[in-house]
């Protein structure tokens, strides 16, 4: 089987995006001081990325709402909630 990039993998899944209303928000000031930044490697859809300066950049679209970042965040650098009912990821197989 051909290897799929993470973007291709997420492309297989349906989302209903609540545009402009992120259900997760990071606090960049706190993230700056975070030595571990576990969110960057562990997020299964790679929603946390590092820019050239090493700052964490977060995008909420494509989130699977798995809750992993909420649990591994050691610095309380994020506010985490579920999206509005009916929005967000919609698995068809599961």
């Amino acid at each position: 089987m051909k290897k799929l990039s993470i973007e291709d993998k997420i492309g297989l899944v349906k989302f209903k995006v609540d545009t402009g209303k992120p259900h997760i928000k990071i606090k960049p000031e706190i993230c700056k001081t975070c030595p571990e930044k576990y969110c960057v490697t562990i997020c299964p859809v790679e929603n946390y990325k590092l820019d050239e300066q090493g700052n964490v950049i977060f995008a909420f679209e494509g989130c699977y709402e798995c809750g992993t970042c909420r649990i591994v965040c050691t610095k309380c650098g994020l506010e985490w909630d579920y999206p509005l009912g009916g929005y967000g990821v919609c698995f068809r197989e599961g």
């Binding site: 899944v13 562990i42 299964p44 009912g85 698995f91 197989e93 599961g94």
Partner: protein
């Protein structure tokens, strides 16, 4: 004035639906709030549905439920980077109904069907509705829930929390402590389309009424706590793995990269060759076991399923059945409390008693040492699995060396890697954790 119902169930997964089904059948006015577009749209598991609890509710489920295949053949494999060593079961009894209560399912379809059955029994299922918080009276007693909808407050006599592994509500109700990485496993999974005949060929199955479940340990998780799986559906296979959050974070492992590597393992590659990628998903799983459980009841509230950490991870990976069983027991406790007109903690304590007498707590208690043991022994996977595979391979090598010389070398290799004391210690601890508590 907010509307009032008898019971609010939060979450339309196996726990919540089993609870609502039981209540509705007994004529109790019940509403289920599900945040997804439909029940199942947020839910992912491996997945083998263990149907022992379901069969109590709907004995003829096999004729109607969207189950994929019965599991008639299992394999347990240790894998290293390139090699594999396994044992296989093929118990002919399991090829006949009730198939040892093991069926593969795809949750987005199964949960929807299960929710429809509860609806037919009289429960109200309201999808697209997030429950955000509780409504309290002046004495800080829960008297309802706040949903994220206009006029979304609903009053009730009792709330059943079946909101899954991330139960924000159990936390809000003060029933559980902080969520810690060591108590959770992250699962990532792909569903790959394959024609039914190809699946039968590759997994040596006689027909679409036979199914395979393969479990993998070792290199699949980079030798940290966790495991991989391949389960056959009717016309697809589910392939995935779960890794302990603490271990994966410390090593900086990216879950989907592990999955890519697993799918490219020489043992796995031919099984999924030329398949069509259908879906990539991820979900958490509670791993804390007996000692990771929150308080499961309080005044006017009960907790069941993953929200209560009811998963027997050990080697069985049983969550779906414990979720349903605990949902049914929660419903029973609610009905008793309703008969007494008393939903206080004292009255709902019956739930804890029911759980104690059921497989839910009995099984969790049996494996209570396991999570702690595995977390404190990271060398288990590393040392033993790789070594076992190497030794097995050595054992079968055919070349110029005599069998006696080869076996001497094998002993040397083994004792070079583990000491006798360590082996005895680990064997003892494994025995206590896996077999005899």
């Amino acid at each position: 004035m907010a509307e009032k119902v008898d019971v609010v169930v939060v979450g339309g997964g196996p726990a919540g639906i089993a609870c609502a089904y039981t209540l509705a059948k007994a004529g109790v006015e019940t509403i289920v709030f599900e945040r997804g577009g439909y029940p199942g749209s947020k839910n992912v598991m491996g997945g083998i549905l263990f149907t022992n609890a379901l069969a109590k509710l709907i004995p003829d489920f096999r004729e109607h439920a969207p189950v994929e295949r019965p599991v008639t053949k299992r394999k347990f494999l240790a894998i290293s980077e390139k090699d594999a060593l396994g044992v296989e079961t093929g118990f002919s009894d399991f090829s006949r109904p009730p198939h040892n209560n093991n069926f593969t399912v795809l949750r987005a379809r199964f949960d929807q069907w299960f929710a429809n059955q509860a609806e037919d029994a009289g429960a109200m299922i309201l999808s697209e509705t997030v429950v955000d918080d509780f409504i309290y009276d002046d004495n800080k007693k829960i008297i309802g829930v706040k949903t994220r909808r206009d006029d979304g407050d609903i009053l009730c006599n009792c709330v059943v929390l079946a909101d899954g592994v991330n139960s924000l509500l159990a936390k809000k109700a003060g029933l559980r402590s902080e969520f810690k990485p060591k108590d959770f496993v992250l699962g990532v999974k792909m569903v790959l389309g394959l024609p039914a005949e190809k699946i039968c060929e590759r997994f040596s199955l006689e027909s679409k009424n036979d199914g395979a479940a393969y479990e993998f340990f070792g290199a699949v998780t980079n030798n940290i706590l966790g495991s991989g799986f391949i389960y056959t559906n009717l016309e697809s296979v589910s392939i995935g793995l779960g890794v302990a959050l603490d271990g994966a974070c410390k090593l900086g492992l990216r879950p989907y990269e592990l999955l890519d590597k697993f799918m490219d393992h020489p043992y796995v590659r031919p099984l999924i060759k030329d398949s069509e990628p259908i879906e990539y998903s991820a979900h958490l799983l509670p791993e804390g076991g007996y000692h990771g459980m929150p308080h499961v009841f309080h005044d006017n509230v009960l907790v069941c399923g993953d929200a209560a950490s009811f998963v027997n991870t050990s080697i069985y990976h049983e969550g779906s059945n414990l979720a349903m069983e605990s949902g049914i027991l929660a419903a029973k406790a609610v009905m008793q409390a309703r008969g007494r007109g008393d939903f206080s903690a004292k009255s709902l304590m019956k739930y804890a008693e029911y759980l104690q007498e059921s497989i839910v707590i009995k099984d969790l208690k049996k494996y209570e040492r396991l999570p702690g043991f595995l977390h404190s022994s990271p060398h288990l996977f590393n040392n033993y699995l790789d070594l076992a595979i190497e030794l097995a391979k050595d054992y079968f090598i055919v070349d110029e060396l005599s069998k006696g010389e080869r076996q001497k070398l094998m002993f040397k290799k083994a004792w070079g890697r583990v000491s006798v004391m360590q082996l005895i210690g680990d064997a003892y601890k494994s025995f206590r954790s896996f077999i005899w508590n």
